[in-house]
Subunit: 613 residues, 2 copies
């Protein structure tokens, strides 16, 4: 195995609490999230017995377990979402609801720390007998919620529950103790979060141990015992440090790599680094859709074979797109490379965002790239991981905007608003972005430092952007600092207290042709403008039936921003290969009007009159 | 042979005298043309005996013919250039010089109208014995100069000479008279010009007859008799109405098709229409360089086989690029299709413009797309068609900006300035363009009509542009009128006396990959931004040797306008495939500084980290 020598950047994230988003794109979505999505998810958790399960397990009320064994996790994820929402804006009512639920959760914890209401209520004697029953998966989400709620409110109750649970795991499992391969990864990344807030080394070490358990035949339970799935489904086929290929269930895989990146941030293990590079390449270079979607197969909710990217039957679970953000955000911090932030962006504006309706109360679990009109968002699912993942992903989206690089700031995502970042030196810097991104590629950055000082600002030039202009204090940058390094322009200088950067990213309409290996898309094109992937939706193109439109790679498109349409979208209008008018809307916005077909990859019209060169 | 049904648009050109160019790109070039190029060409014509030949032939002075048999044409082309210059701005001194030369020309005309100083002085008994000796080619340029000078000054002297010459041709040649296939086309398009100014039908009919003479075995003379060339060299291998393929000498071919388009404008002959469509496709789809250059071979100054587009040895005569403008301008008027104006633009900003130095006094005859550093512009050539073609092409460049479509105006080329156009209805319209084109894709058009009236404005959306925005009176166009038809947005409406159109053309950096058929460019990329094709020049990239740079199709480039460099150019800066800084400048501007290598097609760097789709 060749070692890839990579210097770790070990950038630090900038919490979303330091980032104020005031724009036309995300701000309304954050409002809807708080006003509609979180209450809707709470109501659903209540209605479906998810919350009551805790009261039952705690003996507060009578009754049997309701639902599926991983349902606890949804409640935790909603609490995590509430915590993020509270961090941005206090809401005593919402907080009171969370407190009430946390009391129920705490009541359900057994005296030794164990917490998973399914086993407590249904089969207490069968704990830890089936690695597929999401005991630690539930626990991981509890920990994430606990850390978030502690950071939001300073209240320790849920954090204490989480620590007690983690300590319970640590008692049972580890070197010289019992083996354990958790079927659905999640606990591993959660334990690193718990380590970060408690500074207890044992938590990240337990995470590392759990990671290292995989691939050595320690797994058992219903999944491992079936021929159909096998250990690759749970990423248990090879030791994690030998990982070369992305396999199995997509969300599990992403949570695993997220945890590996987290652990590398602490351990710096070069084997892990190499494995992460390999599996990242394998994921994005061979197994990612243009929307950022991953995991084409409904069968295993996951990966099949390389370049297998069917459109109509694309599974592309919303959670997997969100998990790609988690992983790629970590990779960006770890390696200081913009290509990971490119993927974060692709998911933010496409694969993940498509999962939620504009109204905030309907969700996609599955995100195909083509539909004949029979696929629609719904308010809830029996397995409702996707709505609750959106409920915690969206309110924390500001965290992907910036990174603190030590003696500098990396601007990863462009959105109108401002951020406060503190350098390692202690210098505070306020950055103010004025932009209409993602609809326009112009970004003005006001740099306000506590005092005039030397530091670096790294501006991400997105992978979709071929040409850019950049001025500092009204003057063009001309030297090497104007050229990208790992996808960033690095502006090193002594900044005065009030400086400006003007960045202009070319944001043309881009016609994308698939690699020849992607058989499904041969003879097809897709359209992207800036970070936004477009689709045809029937309502705008009702004259023709599904897949009747063709489009020439040399056709021109009118770029028209329609503030009243679909929450404000830039549509693209042109003529198809037969000269018929057609209109493209952002993919994320589909299925928000009357139902009909949708297509991302359009048949490519025969090119006429191409030049010879 | 399949007939292509094409409706003729028969748009009318808008003379450059109605177009004021006030921009940073063309205006300085027009100044240099007048101050430097025209005087330099006059001086060279004088020094090389080109002007004296007329005085000798007229018996005003003693002496033998000096130079090459087609040298008369250079003097005519300079007078044509002077005429255009006078139309834009009176210059009594320049006019006096022209008058003096015209007197010499008139003196050289024989009593029967014959005029070609080579034969008069050297071999009067051998007139019309060799179709390759450019007798009518010279005559054609005389006619073009005469028409221009008449239109510029109202003076008929040269026009009378021209008519007498044309009548002489008409006496000798035509149905029932002698056959003639002029080796180098030019007379045919000139005769249509003469028809347009005199309204004498016989001139365009003689042009048609001359066109129809080709391809029937009537040609003879040194070219036809050699095995090496054969009739295809002179486009005499097939009757013009059967033309399917571009062949032979590039300038000759272009002048032929220009004349065919001129004649169709009068005759509407569907066979000619079909032939023009076929040969246009064959030219631009299989035999045109990215710079617009045509005619790859030095050997025949012309075409070889399809997709034979070598870079270092590219011949790409400047005259051929200029002639492509002539032809494509006519095609645009004839068919009302922007794709022809696209080619005009490609030549204007690349293939043709490269022919002249920024100082206006040095010229390329040959325009390779790669040079190891040994190819430079010079002040003059023995065969100096290119400098004198530039001398008449540049001062009339405003004529390519607009067309009058009958009840509308087509905006073909964008340049800061204004134009006055009169509709068929008699309505006068002033259009004012405010733009930094070609460096920026934003164009503001002020529309000032004599009175509020209904008419159409057609805005060309260049072929290189995938996305555009357009507003009329500050409002987005949303209907079908906002979509392109034959490459134009057609805005039909009642215009008030003061209206505005805002057009924004996406002008991204475009990475061009050649068709697989172009073997020379396999594994290479070229860079274009807006209409400008870029190149690497050694001075900016001196660290490495010729062809040592590679470039990734996914690399980003800084777009930087440098007003002080090369007359003001937008340069593109980035890193090559090995991470070394590199800079691209517009191709037209190469070889204006210290000598060194140049390349348009750069080796393509291996793509790293491509996405799977």
């Amino acid at each position: 195995m060749t070692k890839i020598k990579t210097q770790l950047s070990n950038w630090q994230g900038v919490p979303f609490t330091n980032v104020i988003i005031e724009d036309v794109f995300w701000r309304p979505r954050l409002e809807v999230l708080k006003k509609v999505t979180l209450p809707a998810c709470l109501t659903k958790c209540e209605e479906t017995g998810r919350i009551t399960n805790f009261a039952k397990a705690g003996g507060l009320i009578e009754g049997t377990f309701e639902g599926i064994y991983f349902n606890d996790s949804d409640v935790y994820k909603v609490i995590e979402g509430i915590a993020y929402s509270l961090m941005s804006e206090p809401d005593p009512e919402l907080e009171a609801q969370a407190d009430r639920i946390i009391d129920l959760i705490a009541s359900a914890q057994e005296s030794d720390g164990y917490l998973s209401t399914y086993y407590t209520l249904e089969a207490p004697e069968s704990k830890w007998t089936d690695m597929e029953k999401h005991e630690m998966y539930n626990g991981g989400h509890l920990i994430e919620a606990a850390v978030a709620y502690f950071e939001a409110t300073g209240k320790r109750k849920l954090l204490d529950v989480a620590c007690k649970l983690a300590d319970h795991y640590d008692d049972l499992f580890g070197p010289g103790k019992r083996h354990w391969v958790e079927g659905h990864e999640e606990i591993e990344l959660a334990l690193v979060k718990l380590y970060r807030v408690t500074r207890e080394q044992r938590y990240w070490k337990l995470s590392l141990w759990l990671l290292e358990e995989r691939g050595h035949g320690h797994g058992f339970g219903e999944i491992w015992d079936t021929k159909e799935w096998g250990p690759a489904y749970c990423q248990d086929d090879v030791p994690v440090r030998d990982t070369r290929r992305v396999t199995g269930h997509a969300v599990r895989a992403m949570y695993l790599y997220t945890a590996m990146a987290d652990v590398v941030h602490v351990s710096g293990d070069p084997d892990f680094v190499d494995a992460l590079h390999r599996v990242w390449s394998h994921t994005v270079e061979r197994n990612m859709y243009v929307t950022g979607g991953i995991g084409p197969s409904r069968h295993n909710e996951g990966f099949t074979h390389d370049y297998d990217l069917p459109n109509e039957s694309a599974y592309c679970e919303t959670c997997a797109a969100i998990a790609m953000v988690f992983w790629n955000h970590r990779m960006n911090l770890l390696f200081g490379d913009a290509k990971y932030a490119d993927v974060v962006e692709r998911e933010m504006y496409n694969g993940a965002l498509a999962g939620i309706s504009l109204t905030g109360d309907k969700f996609f679990y599955v995100n195909p790239l083509a539909s004949k009109g029979d696929h629609h968002r719904v308010p809830w699912f029996d397995t409702s991981c996707c709505p609750t993942n959106l409920a915690r992903f969206l309110p924390s989206i500001g965290q992907y905007s910036y990174a603190q690089t030590g003696q500098g700031i990396a601007v990863n995502q462009y959105m109108n608003g401002e951020a406060e970042i503190v350098m390692e030196s202690g210098l505070g810097v306020k950055l103010k972005q004025t932009t209409q991104y993602p609809w326009n590629g112009k970004i003005e950055l006001a740099v306000e430092a506590d005092k005039s000082d030397f530091f670096s600002i790294y501006l991400r030039i997105p992978g979709w952007c071929r040409g850019y202009k950049v001025k500092v204090r009204g003057k063009s940058l001309l030297g090497v600092e104007a050229l990208t390094e790992r996808g960033y322009i690095a502006i090193h200088r002594a900044w005065s207290q009030n400086d400006t950067i003007e960045l202009e990213l070319d944001m043309p309409v881009e016609i994308i042709q698939a690699r020849p290996e992607v058989l499904e898309n041969q003879g097809r094109i897709a359209i992207q403008r800036g970070p936004i992937v477009y689709c045809l939706e029937q309502l705008d193109n009702s004259r023709l039936s599904y897949d009747a439109y063709s489009f020439s790679a040399h056709e021109t498109l009118l770029v028209d921003h329609q503030p009243e349409l679909l929450g404000g979208v830039t549509v693209l209008k042109g003529k198809d290969g037969e000269g018929r008018p057609c209109q493209f809307i952002p993919y994320y916005a589909w299925d928000n009007r009357e139902s009909g077909y949708m297509q991302v990859w359009i048949r490519k019209a025969e090119d006429k009159g191409l030049y010879s060169f």
